[in-house]
């Protein structure tokens, strides 16, 4: 009797879990079917490559955001951070041109500086949140404004452009492809695998989840809460710098309008993917699907003139809400109890 009951509950649990896990994937498949029905060219190789490449920016940033959000934090500064890092990278590479020439050395210097800046900016966010005891929302709202105005200042209100000679060397980082897949997609895959491993197979990932579920309990369990939380922001900063490294060669420029709204897109990707906004539960795989869903929506809207341009935001909003609704508790529970 009790055995039957026990097996029933595990079955229920598994079913509910399956629906939750599959939510983003179902949404993405539905979107692809809609896209294909609207225009068969949607599934053309060129468009799929564009889609994956485009998802790489938000996707890589969102992998970092998954850690921050899982540990109960939030980072609103990523879009501005990307713009500021892109701006500084361009300035550094342009001025290194004279001494190092337009070769690999200059590009590597730019990339290296980008990573250092990303780690540093993430560390500042982390330390202000943990040691400074300021809410993450406020800290990153502040740094969001600071980084955004810094790039405006560096660009003198205009646009910073990378020297054309360097662009030639740097171009393959965005436009080049290995084994048929564009380079940014490979970076996205690498970041995703590392992120998944870190989240699911290491003590660090479990600490993030523990802190997000209950910070006080985590503290009493001898987890170094401040250090782990700061680390999540540093990882976020690293992800932003990687995204920036593959972003800069695309158009070779940075301005005040670079990376606008990326923070919200990254957070949306994380939540669509099944991570809980208040922390305690994070899914890297879901985040990747979430990023793909967001890019696919924009792509589909460009593929049809059925919907007024002015309603693009409405469609995006609806799909984000539906995608999250697909995987939240009640919907899954109702089904599970019926069976």
């Amino acid at each position: 009797m009790s055995d039957v009951a026990a097996s029933n509950t595990t079955k229920d649990k598994r079913m509910r879990f399956d629906i939750k896990t599959a939510g983003p994937a179902i949404a993405l498949i539905l979107l692809c079917i809609i896209g294909f029905l609207l225009n068969p060219a949607f599934l053309s190789e060129g468009n799929l490559t564009n889609l994956l490449t485009r998802s790489a920016f938000i996707g890589i940033i969102a992998v970092g955001a998954t850690f921050v959000i899982t540990a109960g934090g939030i980072d609103l500064s990523v879009g501005s951070m990307a713009a500021a890092i892109a701006g500084v990278m361009i300035i550094i590479m342009n001025s290194a041109m004279e001494t190092l020439g337009p070769g690999m050395a200059t590009v590597l210097l730019g990339g290296g500086c980008s990573i250092l800046l990303g780690l540093g900016a993430g560390w500042i966010n982390g330390v202000l949140t943990t040691k400074g005891k300021i809410e993450a929302f406020i800290v990153t709202l502040g740094t969001m404004g600071i980084y955004r105005s810094l790039v405006t200042y560096f660009a003198d209100g205009g646009t910073l452009s990378l020297d054309f000679a360097i662009r030639g060397t740097y171009r393959p980082v965005y436009y080049g492809s290995i084994l048929g897949l564009p380079a940014p997609v490979w970076v996205f895959i690498a970041v995703s695998i590392c992120g998944w491993f870190l989240m699911n197979r290491t003590a660090f990932g479990r600490y993030c989840t523990a802190i997000g579920s209950n910070e006080s309990v985590a503290k009493y369990s001898a987890i170094k809460v401040d250090r782990i939380k700061t680390m999540t922001y540093v990882i976020q900063g690293l992800c932003v710098s990687l995204a920036t490294i593959i972003y800069v060669p695309r158009l070779g420029s940075a301005s005040a309008s670079t990376g606008v709204m990326w923070e919200l897109e990254a957070i949306a990707a994380v939540i669509i993917g099944g991570t809980v906004l208040k922390g305690g539960y994070g899914r890297i795989g879901g985040t990747i699907l979430g990023a793909l869903i967001l890019t696919t929506i924009g792509n589909i809207l460009n593929f049809t003139d059925l919907i007024s341009n002015y309603l693009n935001g409405t469609m995006q909003g609806l799909i984000i809400i539906i995608a999250v609704w697909l995987q939240r508790g009640d919907w899954g529970k109702a089904k599970a109890t019926k069976s």
Partner: protein, 318 residues
């Protein structure tokens, strides 16, 4: 007794007012107020305003131009109050942040007796400004369409990348479509690319996947055009006489037109330097023997390799 007091007070104020008038007759103070530059076009405007200030002050030692930029409509309203109370300006050149919230503040400046010049964005109440200087958005769309009609034949296909959904974008787009109508050129679709390079790149990528045959692109704006060109080059569809028409007059675009680029062969002017025109006209109101009050609508000049040099300012940020 009481009357005497009032009288003497009156006399005192009149005397003060007279001396104040005498001082301001010596140096003409002209306030110039515009939004803080946060994008390239506005940064160009800031640069041209500073250039005009240097030039005009060198030309007329008795003219003092006071440049103030403000980050939002409220700050601009306060800046206008300061220009009147602190600087006691004789004239105001203003590019309003938004029409509605700045109509009253500008009206107050007018009540102080100053000459009013409004630039680009009109106020929501007519008759306040003495001088109005603006670019011509419908004309920008029309000139672009006329160029397209000259290059393309009936049955050719174009796509349109629009700006941020605003009245400016609508004016440009509607005039463009009206001019294209009846020419037999097909506008395959139009999408908003928000006057932004990244959006221009992505929207154009999608247009290229969606439409196998595109003969030309109207990008409406130089920033969008840069994204469009990157997408065309990536897809290898930048040959076969394909061309892109932008707009505004960004220095990089004008430079490449001077160098004979075929992908962006022309540009349509919507110049940030209009602030300098407005400052010139305002100064002329005090210095010229001819009348200057009125409305100045600048042409949306087609920039070609022949005339590009006169619109090229290498030191401007835009």
């Amino acid at each position: 007794m009481k009357n005497l007091k009032t009288l003497s007070a009156l006399a005192l104020t009149t005397a003060l007012a007279l001396t104040a008038g005498a001082v301001s007759a010596e140096t003409l103070k002209i306030g110039v107020s515009y939004p803080t530059p946060t994008h390239a076009w506005a940064a160009g405007m800031n640069w041209h305003a500073e250039q005009a200030e240097k030039r005009l002050e060198a030309l007329y030692p008795d003219i003092d131009l006071i440049l103030i930029n403000s980050p939002d409509p409220n700050a601009q309203a306060s800046a206008l109050e300061d220009l009147v109370s602190v600087h006691q300006i004789d004239a105001l050149v203003v590019l309003p942040f938004e029409s509605e919230p700045l109509t009253d503040p500008v009206l107050n400046v007018k009540k102080s007796g100053a000459l009013i010049t409004v630039v680009d964005r009109g106020l929501s109440q007519p008759g306040i400004e003495d001088i109005y200087v603006a670019g011509n958005n419908p004309e920008l769309g029309r000139v672009s369409a006329v160029y397209m009609k000259g290059r393309l034949e009936s049955g050719d296909n174009i796509v349109v990348l629009r700006g941020i959904p605003t009245i400016i974008d609508n004016e440009r787009f509607d005039a463009f479509m009206a001019e294209i109508e009846g020419s037999g050129i097909n506008v395959l679709d139009h999408k908003h690319a928000n006057w932004n390079r990244d959006d221009g790149f992505e929207v154009m990528q999608d247009f290229l996947s969606r439409f196998p045959d595109i003969d030309a692109v109207w990008a409406q704006d130089d920033d969008i055009a840069i994204g469009v060109v990157a997408a065309l080059k990536q897809a290898g569809r930048d040959g076969d006489g394909m061309f892109v028409v932008g707009g505004a007059g960004m220095k990089e675009t004008i430079k490449s037109i001077m160098d004979g680029d075929t992908l962006i062969p022309v540009d349509v002017l919507y110049p940030p330097s209009m602030i300098a025109t407005a400052m010139d006209v305002t100064v002329a109101a005090f210095k010229s023997n001819g009348p200057v009050a009125g409305r100045y609508i600048l042409g949306a000049t087609l920039i070609t390799p022949e005339n590009a040099a006169s619109f090229y300012f290498p030191d401007s940020p835009f």
